[in-house]
């Protein structure tokens, strides 16, 4: 594709050092969207189904689900899942808005990526405090 507005040709090929590369904030949010999605697929869906199955079985099993969360490791995992859900949800809504061309200029897009990071972390904190 011709690029008439770029006067100087950049040296090619370009080698990207993945360790030294610094993503802008929207890039980090986008990458975390992928990471949280992978976590939700690998562990989230089976655990969700297991939880729904147990919770519907008997009142005892419904109660055992809440007592299972008494273990600190289970609580840590639950907080991890809460973050994955919340980040994926918030970042996803941001992407839907960007698709509708709402806030897709550089400055508002950077701002909204910061909002997504902050809101999902804050809500995770609230969930964690309620759990503990």
């Amino acid at each position: 594709m011709p690029a008439p507005d770029r006067p100087v040709a950049r040296p090619r090929p370009v080698y990207l050092n993945l360790v030294r590369i610094r993503l802008p904030l929207p890039g980090i949010v986008s990458f975390l969207h992928r990471v949280s999605g992978a976590v939700l697929f690998l562990f989230g869906i089976p655990l969700l189904l297991l939880a729904v199955q147990c919770s519907l079985a008997t009142p005892d099993q419904f109660a055992s689900l809440t007592s299972a969360l008494a273990h600190p490791l289970a609580r840590l995992a639950a907080i991890g899942f809460a973050w994955a859900c919340l980040h994926h949800f918030c970042a996803g809504i941001r992407f839907l808005l960007l698709d509708l061309h709402i806030g897709d200029d550089l400055a508002p897009a950077r701002r909204s990526s910061a909002v997504v990071l902050a809101v999902s972390l804050a809500l995770t904190l609230v969930a964690g405090v309620r759990l503990w």
């Binding site: 992978a38 869906i45 996803g92 839907l96």
Partner: protein
Amino acid sequence: MVTRPLRQAVGAHYGSKDWLVQRVTAVVMAAYTILVLGLALWNGGIDYALWKALFARGAWKLATFVFMLALCWHAWIGVRDIWMDYVKPVGARLTLEVLTVLALAAYVGWTVQILWGGR
């Protein structure tokens, strides 16, 4: 502003269909999630009796089933994108994609068992 390329690099427009499916399923899941959260807030938490009564309703079973279908379709597109981006050997990618489809099919089956398994 991005100008349209003069010709399509890949055929059959499959990319734009998946792009749309990814977004429609996201909206379906968001609606269901907000419904569950709203129910929990409205009732001041969900206890066993309420939970059980909710899942006894046919409409709720259907809504939950549609949610799970949306979730699995959404997950398929997302996970397949991850395999396509990071796994280049065709054999390994195909294996991972097949395993993904099998897992998602099993999850849909599991959902049917939970919802209509009878107890």
